[in-house]
Amino acid sequence: VLERIQEFFSSTGFADLYWGHVVMLVVAGILIYLAIKKRYEPLLLLPIGFGILLANLPGTGLWDDPGTNGGTGGLIYYIGQGVHLAIFPPIIFLGIGALTDFSPLLANPKTFFLGAAAQFGIFAALFLALAWGFGMNEAGSIGIIGGADGPTAIYTSVLLAPHLVGPIAIAAYSYMALVPIIQPPIMRLLTTKRERVIVMEYPREVSKMELILFPLVITALVVLLLPKAAPLIGMLMFGNLLRECGVTERLAVTAGGELINIVTIFLCVVVGAEMAAEQVLHFDTLKLLLLGLFAFGFGTASGVLMGKLMCWLTKGKVNPLIGAAGVSAVPMAARVVQVEGQKANHQNYLLLHAMGPNVAGVIGSATVAGLLIAFLQ
């Protein structure tokens, strides 16, 4: 009987459990807590947290290739193909395109510069990662965390440094959730009270034709410049065309609703399941998380500094705070700008103005991702 009990115990997950698994189970618990209790990006952090939970329960075989021990392969192995073949991130971009209104950007196209400037964080982190001993492909993938765009970060790291997908995705989504904590001190440090109270003019109205032609022309331009950006930019703009053309409402609703939700579930569970203790519990992961934070902060700072430059050039018509929204993280970063603007001036409504650089940041980070992939893949 004792032998049978021993045999049974050795077949359970408890037999292979070690302290690393316990640490990661605590991490999973923290993410799930933040998602449910604090409502920090719950649609992302909850499935990621559950993925981490699954990945750190030994003996499940969820990641097994077909043929391992004569089996047919693990569930996560199959779902994970959507991540490892870089299919899920562009599909999520399709949904994002269907949900995004580009009219604030079209109404005030100069704010595109703010979305471009906020990408500086990517390159600052790239150099710092090289200095900290990461390889070129790893450094590029870590830098893209500064783009503050989960699907873009996952897409880039899958193609350049697949072994870092899990930590990079966690860093990207966690920092996006922490935008209201990370950005305001940087925004206040780099701007004066006089700049923060600036009230911007109400933007012009954008016509239907402009909104329809925009995704077509941007796709052609960016993809001709950077063919490797086609999956991200192409799908983003296709989704936006579905939204704006006025004749494919059902497709737009599906892309921005059920489709993006289904793919988000699969993507996030797989990303979480990449975080097995054996793969992530080492010093490089901590360095990666710090570099991601640096990229995010530097991107925010460069966006605000570009905002200050535009404020000076326009003789005070641009509130520099809107530059902080250039780091994608749609729409959280724009909401933070709104809150900070109202703290300085109760009559100030910067949300609409901040949406311009915010959506420009999505295009900017996808463009930089295409460039990194073109050079490094």
Binding site: P109, F112, F113, A116, S207, E210, L213, T367, V368, L371
Partner: protein, 48 residues
């Protein structure tokens, strides 16, 4: 050292690309606005 040179090249090219897209975008926005206004004007003339 080679990695730093490559990183610098990528950074410069990325910044130039983003600048090109930004300037093109401003031009595009103006052009689209002009086309839209022309369409409205034609419509107004037809109905008038």
């Amino acid at each position: 050292m080679d990695d730093y040179v490559l990183a610098l090249e990528i950074t410069v090219i990325a910044l130039v690309t983003l600048m090109i897209i930004s300037f093109f975008f401003i031009g595009l926005s103006r052009a689209l606005q002009w086309i839209a206004n022309m369409g409205k004007k034609d419509k107004g003339e037809d109905s008038g």
